[in-house]
Symmetry: C2
Subunit: 304 residues, 2 copies
């Protein structure tokens, strides 16, 4: 299977604690690195991943609250100090453009690479980025400020060559890529060997959805139906549902109901309120509705 | 002795490492907390000090480089979330005012306390803050942008009461404060007991100087003469003196020469370049000139 990993850098909420940093995750999809949110300390936590800064191509920001963006200035600065020259694409609600402009003007005058900001319509479910490996969709969320999550969908890879069949038919190397692309092979005797005999199907495609910060969104189930791994904020326990609603967040139970409706394979909950010394209370609450739930934690690496 | 502690939160330089956070220190002088610089991660490191956020009264910033200020937005935000209502005074070069205005306007709309910015003339050696416990002086530094360090000078406390003398003369409690303030005591028989017999002198006053980022400054020795503890940046070793000059920094040897000229009691070096996996090379270099040198390190608590 090709690489598709999610590295948790921070899964706390607005008040950082000794256990949790503010929100940030790195997605490594076939060695392309995407950063999801960038809370304070992201560049510090990054160093434990072993990943190469310079391979971050895109940063996807959900909303303009400090605990999701205050790590951005330091990260942008450090990448420049480390000699980055390739352009960086930052996606997020349009109200983040000023922040990026201000920081680059006041602190990053000598930056060695271009930063391209691409505003995301937080009320639209649409493709915000696409290349040959993936599609990234916006997921409108419901929070106190314009906010959207992101759905990362892997595109199908190529079929796998059946090495023994290539050897059996003496197929030359130059023909391999064409066969992978769908061609049959015609032997010197004129026999047509179908593509399906020479290959095995590509790996199943996987998907990852990142939903924070938000109250439960009814349409989410439709947008992320069948998602392999859903990260959904679960700031509060159900007995604090009133608080969750007041501040535009979800309870663990609500997160689990979203996962259930969406037929997710697995649910990972995070963005824990600092009031919980032990988040297992949130885990148990979610598991009562959706058994295949796990807790996010700093340093966790997980594949959808 | 009354409390006068320096807590090191970060003593790395522009590129944070696994060992070092960007610059930040907390000075606890008789339970008044001053923050010196505020690099990214300050609010995260703070939590290990056990100190109370709400007792920060003043923040002193040296210059507008990201590794000295990128922790400020998160810290200001968190203090508000934790219910701070008392005003906060932020001192620094005038070019930091826009940064603070921008952050408060865009991210701290609901902040529950006032932030007062007091511009510091980075070319003047003068008192920038004073109360009954201390004076804080600006120390003009030489860096790539306007920059000043800070000298914190404790004011004399009150003399100590000699308890046995108070008991011997039967002096009532209500008279204690007057005696501390300098009064003599007259017994019912008319005998005048001099103040000097009833008290011991106050504790010696102490001072702490924070000098970062900077090349060596010639007048520094005069401004901080006799300082108890000098923190001086030592970004590079002497064999990188050319780099130090290019980027407006000091070598360990140069930091030690400043301490020597200033008749400092102790020197603490910090702001280490990330190129040094082991800073003892810098320590040894400094100690060859000024024996009483130590390395700053995250989590260190030290008294001048």
């Amino acid at each position: 299977m090709q690489t598709f990993d999610v590295h948790i850098l921070g899964c706390g909420s607005a008040l950082p604690t000794r256990k949790h940093l503010p929100s940030a995750q790195v997605v490594n999809l076939r060695d392309k690195l995407l950063l999801l949110d960038c809370g304070e300390g992201t560049q510090l936590a990054w160093r434990s991943t072993g990943l190469n800064w310079q391979h971050i191509s895109h940063i996807f920001l959900t909303h303009a609250h400090g605990d999701h963006v205050f790590g951005l200035p330091g990260l942008l600065s450090t990448m420049s100090l480390l000699g980055r020259i390739s352009p960086l694409f930052v996606h997020g609600p349009s109200n983040l453009l000023n922040f990026i402009k201000f920081i680059t003007a006041d602190f990053l005058a000598d930056i060695g690479y271009e930063i391209h900001f691409q505003a995301v319509d937080t009320q639209q479910h649409s493709v915000v980025f696409e290349d040959r490996s993936m599609e990234v969709w916006s997921l409108p969320l419901q929070h106190r400020v314009p906010c959207c999550g992101y759905l990362i969908k892997e595109k199908p890879g190529l079929p796998h060559i059946r090495r023994e069949m290539i050897d059996f038919y003496g197929i030359p190397t130059w023909a391999i890529n064409r066969i992978k692309a769908g061609d049959d092979w015609t032997t010197p005797d004129g026999e047509v060997i179908p593509h399906s005999r020479l290959t095995t199907p590509p790996d199943r495609v996987r998907s990852y959805a990142y939903c924070s910060d938000t109250m439960p969104v009814e349409q989410m189930a439709e947008w992320i139906d069948g998602v392999d791994l859903l990260y959904h904020e679960a700031t509060y326990a159900e007995n604090e549902a009133t608080l969750a609603q007041r501040y535009g967040h979800s309870t663990a139970r609500q997160a689990a109901l979203v996962a259930q409706s969406a037929h997710a394979r697995r649910l990972m909950i995070g963005h824990f309120s600092s009031r919980y010394a032990d988040e297992r209370i949130l885990l148990q609450e979610a598991q009562e509705v959706f058994a295949n739930t796990l807790l996010a934690s700093e340093g966790l690496r997980i594949s959808p």
